[in-house]
Amino acid sequence: MKAIQYFRCLWGIFIREALRFLHQRERFFGALVRPLVWLFIFAAGFRSILGVSIIPPYETYILYEEYIVPGLAAMILLFSGMQSSLSMVYDREMGSMRMLMVSPFPRWYLLLCKLTAGTLVAIAQVYLFLGIAWFWDVQPPLIGYLLAFPALLLSGLMLGALGLLLSSAIKQLENFAGVMNFVIFPMFFASSALYPLWRIKDSSLFLYEICRFNPFTHAVELIRFSLYGQIGWVAFFAVVGSLLVFLAGAIYGYDPARGLMTRKQGGG
């Protein structure tokens, strides 16, 4: 296999993911409406209740809307990553997963392509959201939009890899509801997406420690700092480390010799 063939494979999988997303209009609007509801309604309601002091990367007092935008951007990546894992379970049940797995490319590469393609589609949604937020007076420096891209890519890959790992362990499509309850919501709420961690520390030291070790917190902070032209190094290393762990787990899970696939599929 030559490099151009590897690229064709990646491009083909990306096009498929993008087309699937565009064809599923409910998913398209759902992905956009969810963070906008939080921004337009939740943030407006809580603006006066939740005061945010000056914390890095912010250099002045900011409105609550401005504070939660990086968290909502990460939320899009989180839901998209889990949606991608849902589609993997669906593909496995419906059979199209087999098409991917019998390709002569290395299996780790196919999974990485699937992950990258899903992440790029999610990043497009994030930029659309950031564009709408601009008109809602959430206006980071223009260079921040450019610098946020690598942060969004890393965070999206990390959350998508977590989704892949979960999809290798989920037995049936119906079990995905459990992922919502046990993964998405706890990850989102036990993070710095909606409130700074010092506020949580004031309430509960134990909860604060959980939030600090939550990979989603670091994804939010990586995006937040990059949007304001800075690099959060702790967040960067935490996201990269989590990405490697989740990806290794997912590749293991989809390895036919060692993984979990054989335990879940019956045969004729």
Binding site: R16, R20, S96, V102, S103, G268
Partner: protein, 245 residues
């Protein structure tokens, strides 16, 4: 290097403690149409999962055109075209988008195979519907497109796992004829799993799989002679009954 299109040697597999496949061995030459005949639950789909490396068997070996599936899995898989028992087309994508996706998974530039693609679509009478969503096609048309897709990258071995199940008699005949033509014209090996005895021709190679074991292998004519049967159905019933009793 072995010349067999497919060679299975003592392949066993179990999901739990109960074996689903028990010491399966047979081979298939290039240009041969080999029917893997067995009732539901005989182990056909599991065998296909092993040949396509969705599962890995710890016992036995599988070689595809001399490539060991464990040691040279990518080279072995590159020889394969597969029609799975479950439909694997993306219903929300158009017919052509599905085929382009397949090209990508094989590392092929769709423009390089555009002529072949057009020809194949004309053969199955769907050239004018290439931009239609798959959802709008009938079951038979979908199956035929899956077959076109499986052959698009010119594999040397075609695996078809009960591709005619649920189809009407005309669609079944059309698909069988399409595959038999490719088999004789292009010299590709075909492993055709089915539980429908009327899909077996006397000159076909036949492997009868029952309860995870190979009960008989050889040409259909030979197996009929060996069992003193007048038809494949009779031979099949005789072999499977004596095994069950």
């Amino acid at each position: 290097m072995s010349e067999a299109a497919l060679e299975l040697s003592n392949v066993s597999f179990s999901y739990t403690k109960r074996p689903v496949l028990d010491g399966v061995s047979f081979s298939l030459d290039p240009g041969q149409f080999c029917v893997l005949l067995g009732v539901n639950g005989a182990g056909k789909t599991t065998l296909f999962s092993l040949i396509t490396r969705l599962f890995v068997s710890r016992n036995g070996s599988i070689n595809i055109y001399g490539y060991d599936l464990k040691q040279q899995s990518r080279k072995a898989l590159a020889q394969l075209g597969v029609v799975f028992q479950q439909p694997t087309l993306d219903l929300d994508l158009s017919l052509i988008q599905n085929l382009h996706y397949h090209c990508a998974l094989q590392g092929i530039n769709p423009e390089q195979v555009a002529d072949r693609l057009q020809l194949a679509m004309e053969e199955v009478g769907l050239a004018d519907r290439s931009t239609d969503r798959v959802r709008a096609l009938s079951g038979g048309q979908r199956r035929r497109i899956e077959l076109v897709r499986a052959l698009l990258h010119q594999p040397r071995l075609l695996l078809a796992d009960e591709p005619t199940v649920g189809l009407d008699i005309h669609s079944r005949q059309a698909i069988l004829q399409q595959v038999r033509e490719r088999c004789s014209q292009d010299g590709i090996g075909v492993l055709w799993a089915t539980h429908l005895v009327d899909e077996v021709e006397p000159q076909d190679q036949l492997v009868i799989l029952h309860g995870g074991k190979v009960l008989a292998r050889g040409s259909a004519e030979q197996i009929m002679q060996q069992t003193g049967s007048d038809s494949v159905k009779q031979a099949f019933n005789q072999l499977t009954r004596s095994e069950s009793s």
